[in-house]
Structures are given as structure tokens and as C-alpha cells.
């Protein structure tokens, strides 16, 4: 895939597949942080030191062992424009830090975008695996194999006592951050969410809302991830996260059933109103879009709206973001212009789907 296609294609290929529990778990993400011995961490490195790290890492990505499994394309951050960077951020392929602040930053992307390896983010290497649905073990399998290939060819900063040494003390040890993106509209509607979030804090996990212009969780999306990286093995971290996510998924299902049984008419009303607005509105702010899309997604998952693929919603979550809208338009847009384009994009996309049926 060319660099251009990475920018233009709203879909990461991984989004097309429907993983396990995909009515609630949008995606699973695993990140592995690694550093090279005898190189200053990226935050302190000079340009030439940074370049050397990029050279060493790309050499490994070109090696036969890596090419057998993954075709990785290198994109250097100083060779793409700010809007293109933003698109990569909105697709969750790079972090805002790599886009905005890193020097000599680069990303190695697999064609289907399920693997992205950031170079010179806060750490020298950050391997990221992104899969649709609830697939923690699979993400770890893919990530740890890539890690093994790097490890054979590079001299990792590792210490028997502290484990993998990272730039930030919050990542030391295993260096892994695993997370699942959960769509929890029924737990929000039944006002159980804060109770659950509080409980989660007590078991070494952390929950965040998905990014948005405001501070609250946009579109009832929550990202659940591990907080502890030192002293727990990778499998402990993953099974802890798995267990808690499993419980939340079950609670969300119970809440959905409850809403269906006890408030069916008002639930249907809410869902169809949102659907109607998205089908006909001429201007939609991103916050409203996220909320309405969440309602429609719930309607699809509950079988209330029969003719729309939930995957369209996954796609719209990405393509209605400011960076994507502007890249698509080929120009900078004012917020008003964005709201208008967002409304049109959603209308067109939902219509296409309807007429296909």
C-alpha cells in the first residue's frame, strides 16, 4: 500500500473483520514498549542519535525474518504534513505525541494496519497491535513474536530486576499496555457506569473515554487498560484485564436486556430519533454525531435497526473526526464547514447502506 492509501482509506483493514463480542468490544489494542541499550531515550536524543535508532529499527523490519510475517512500510514523520499526521492519529496508528512532538519519529505500518510500530515516540520502539473485537491473546501472540524478532537483532535495554527499561517509570517491567475499547450505552443509560468505573480503579486497571473535543467519554466509548506493568507477568496482566472486561461485557448485556424489557418504547424512540437525525440533518457537531452514532449502533446490536452494518458505524467514528474530514476535503475547514460535511458524510453513508439491502 502506498503512503497515500494509508491516508485516504478510512478503513483500516482490521476494522472490516468482526471479532468476538464485537457488539460491545470495538477493538483490542496491545502496546509493547522497548528501548535500545546505549542510546539516550528519544526525549533527550539529538537528531543524529534519533536517526541512528530509526536506521537500526528499519534494518530489522527489512530483515527476512520480519518480512516473512509482516510487510512493513516506513513513514517518516518529517516527510508528511500535519493533516496527514492527524489522520494517522485518528486511525489510532500513531500517538499525538509522535505526530506533534517527536523528532526523527517514524512509524512502520503493516498493510492491513493491524500492526504499527512507532519509532522514537517516548520510547525507541513501541509495537502496537490493533484487532477488531475482543482478542487479547491473539494481540499478544502477534506482538510478542515481533518483539522476539527485534530482540534477536537489537540490544534491548533490559535489567533482571526492573525488566524492560522505559523512558517513563509507569511502563517499566513488561512494558505492555493492553486495552479494549468498549461500547457501553446501556450501562451509561442505566447510570451504573460510575459505580463500575470506581470498582475498576481498585484492581489495577484504568478507564478512559475515547478522545474527543470535550473531556467526557464521547459516544459511550470507554477504553479499559492495565495500569501496572512491574511485578505482574504478561499473562497475569492480560488475564486480569480479560476477566474484568468479561464482567463488564456481561453487565452491559444484562443492562441492554433490562432496557429492552422495561423501556422498549422509549428506547426505540431514542434510537430511531437518532437514526432520523443522522439520516436527515444538515449539520452535526462531533459530540452529537458520536452520541447519535452510539444510539444507532445500539439499535443495530439489539436488532431494532435491521438494515445497517455495525461496521459502517466503526468507519464513521473515524471518518467524522476533524482531521479526516479536512483531509478528505483537501483543505482546512472551519468548525461550521466541518459540521456540514460531517452531516453529509453520515447521510450518504447510511443511505448507501440502506439502498444496498
Amino acid at each position: 500500500m502506498s503512503q497515500k492509501q494509508f491516508m485516504q482509506n478510512p478503513w483500516s483493514n482490521w476494522m472490516k473483520g468482526e471479532g468476538p463480542d464485537s457488539d460491545i468490544v470495538i477493538s483490542t489494542r496491545l502496546r509493547i514498549a522497548r528501548n535500545l541499550r546505549q542510546h539516550p531515550f528519544p526525549l533527550l536524543a539529538t537528531d543524529s542519535q534519533g536517526e541512528e535508532v530509526v536506521r537500526k529499527v528499519t534494518e530489522v523490519s527489512d530483515s527476512e525474518a520480519m518480512r516473512k510475517r509482516h510487510q512493513l512500510q516506513v513513514i517518516h514523520m518529517d516527510q508528511i504534513n500535519p493533516l496527514e499526521k492527524r489522520v494517522l492519529v485518528e486511525k489510532h496508528l500513531i500517538s499525538p505525541h509522535l505526530a506533534e512532538e517527536s523528532r526523527k519519529g517514524a512509524v512502520l505500518l503493516r498493510e492491513d494496519e493491524s500492526v504499527s510500530i512507532m519509532v522514537n515516540e517516548e520510547d525507541h520502539i513501541r509495537i502496537q497491535v490493533l484487532l477488531p473485537g475482543f482478542r487479547l491473546n491473539e494481540a499478544w501472540e502477534i506482538g510478542t513474536k515481533i518483539d522476539d524478532i527485534f530482540e534477536k537483532n537489537l540490544n534491548y535495554a533490559f535489567d533482571e530486576t526492573r525488566g524492560y527499561l522505559t523512558s517513563c517509570p509507569t511502563n517499566v517491567g513488561t512494558g505492555i499496555r493492553a486495552s479494549v475499547m468498549l461500547h457501553l450505552p446501556a450501562l451509561v443509560m442505566t447510570q451504573q457506569i460510575s459505580r463500575i468505573l470506581q470498582a475498576i480503579n481498585q484492581v489495577g486497571l484504568v478507564v478512559r473515554g475515547i478522545y474527543g473535543e470535550g473531556s467526557e467519554a464521547l459516544g459511550n466509548l470507554f477504553q479499559l487498560s492495565n495500569q501496572v506493568t512491574l511485578g505482574m507477568s504478561e499473562s497475569d496482566i492480560l488475564s486480569n484485564l480479560y476477566g474484568v472486561a468479561r464482567q463488564i461485557i456481561e453487565q452491559e448485556r444484562v443492562a441492554r436486556t433490562y432496557l429492552l424489557e422495561h423501556t422498549r418504547v422509549s428506547l426505540e424512540d431514542r434510537i430511531f430519533r437518532s437514526y432520523g437525525i443522522l439520516m436527515y440533518a444538515r449539520t452535526v457537531e462531533s459530540k452529537e454525531a458520536a452520541q447519535r452514532l452510539s444510539d444507532v449502533r445500539l439499535g443495530i446490536d439489539l436488532g431494532i435497526i435491521p438494515d445497517v452494518s455495525p461496521l459502517v458505524l466503526n468507519e464513521l467514528l473515524v471518518t467524522t473526526q476533524p482531521g479526516f474530514l479536512q483531509h478528505h476535503a483537501g483543505q482546512k475547514l472551519t468548525p461550521d464547514q466541518r459540521d456540514e460535511r460531517r452531516a453529509r458524510l453520515i447521510r450518504e453513508r447510511l443511505r448507501v447502506v440502506e439502498s444496498q439491502e
Binding site: 528501548n35 541499550r37 546505549q38 542510546h39 539516550p40 531515550f41 526525549l43 533527550l44 492519529v89 500517538s95 499525538p96 505525541h97 506533534e100 510478542t144 518483539d147 530482540e151 534477536k152 534491548y156 535495554a157 533490559f158 535489567d159 533482571e160 530486576t161 526492573r162 525488566g163 524492560y164 527499561l165 522505559t166 523512558s167 517513563c168 517509570p169 509507569t170 517499566v172 517491567g173 513488561t174 460510575s194 468505573l197 470506581q198 480503579n201 481498585q202 489495577g204 484504568v206 478507564v207 478512559r208 473515554g209 475515547i210 478522545y211 473531556s215 467526557e216 467519554a217 477504553q223 495500569q227 501496572v228 506493568t229 512491574l230 511485578g231 505482574m232 507477568s233 504478561e234 496482566i237
Partner: protein, 172 residues
């Protein structure tokens, strides 16, 4: 749950601090975190710099004036990062910082992770040596117990295996 700073906006950042096994939680909103000097460019970039340096400021070891007593700041000899720079930024400069800042880090790790010792994956390269070392420890213990119970034949067997392993260690 509302933000503990302003009490108005919903708390979106949650941090658990663990001191001597006792957990304290912080819940604050993004805006308050911003105002406290943090940089939030998106959920992914959840930066806990500020909270981290907050934790470091309460380091009891810093209070007893050890740094001034020796008149030589604790510093990484490779990259030059001092402990006080580290406690401001919350970031290490290189992997040797972990060695030079050494024991000072234990309380911090305990607060963040509730632990100070890695117990996960080990790079294959190191894995070999680590494994041999663990095996050696076990063999030496077995040797002692065989000697203590006067099972000399078994003890001799242990001794031979220890020698073989030690040779293997020396070669690798």
C-alpha cells in the same frame, strides 16, 4: 464521579497511588489536569507527568537532605540526568538512569506498581543465563541437603552437574 479539584466537571483521569500497600485514588478532569501544567493532546497521550512529579515531591528520602549532605547530586553518569531533574520531568534520560538512580526508585515503583521486581518476559538472550543461574541455585541447595543427610552418592552427582553448568555459564 466528579473531579476532585473543581468538583464541577466529570473526572476522566484516574490515578491510583499505592503507599505501603495503602491505596489512594485521584480523580480529576482533563481541564484541571491541564491547568496544573499537564499536556493533554488526546486520550492516548494520557500524560501523568504532573501527578508523577507530585508523587516524587513527597519522597521522604529527599527531605532528610541527603543530597546536600554529600554535596554531590545523585546523577546518571551516562546521560547526566540528576534525580531532581527526574523528579520534575518524571522521565528517564537513558537506560543507565535506572542503575545510577538505583535504590531511590524503589519507593516510586512501589507507589506506581505496588511492586519493584519484574516478573515477566525475559529476552531470550538473557533467558539462557538466567535459567542456568536459577538451576544452579536449586542444585546447590540440593547438594547441601544431601550432604546434611549424608547421601554422598547423590551429593557427588549434584556436584558434577553444578560443575557442568558452571562451565556452560563461563562459555556463554
Amino acid at each position: 464521579m466528579n473531579c476532585e479539584e473543581c468538583g464541577k466537571r466529570p473526572a476522566t483521569l484516574h490515578l491510583t497511588k499505592i503507599v505501603n500497600g495503602e491505596k489512594t485514588e485521584y480523580h480529576i478532569c482533563e481541564q484541571c489536569a491541564h491547568e496544573k501544567g499537564d499536556v493533554f493532546t488526546g486520550f492516548h497521550n494520557f500524560s501523568i507527568n504532573n501527578l508523577l512529579s507530585g508523587l516524587l515531591k513527597f519522597d521522604p528520602m529527599q527531605k532528610n537532605g541527603r543530597e546536600t549532605a554529600t554535596n554531590k547530586p545523585l546523577q546518571c553518569e551516562t546521560c547526566g540526568l540528576t534525580y531532581s531533574q527526574f523528579s520534575k520531568s518524571g522521565r528517564f534520560g537513558c537506560s543507565d538512569c535506572y542503575t545510577f538512580l538505583g535504590d531511590r526508585l524503589d519507593p516510586l515503583f512501589r507507589r506506581i506498581h505496588g511492586n519493584t521486581q519484574h516478573s515477566g518476559k525475559v529476552p531470550e538472550r538473557m533467558g539462557g543465563k538466567l535459567k542456568i543461574r536459577k538451576e544452579l541455585e536449586q542444585l546447590k541447595q540440593a547438594l547441601q541437603s544431601h550432604v546434611a543427610s549424608e547421601e554422598f552418592e547423590k551429593a557427588a552427582e549434584m556436584r558434577d552437574r553444578i560443575r557442568a553448568l558452571e562451565q556452560k555459564m563461563a562459555q556463554s
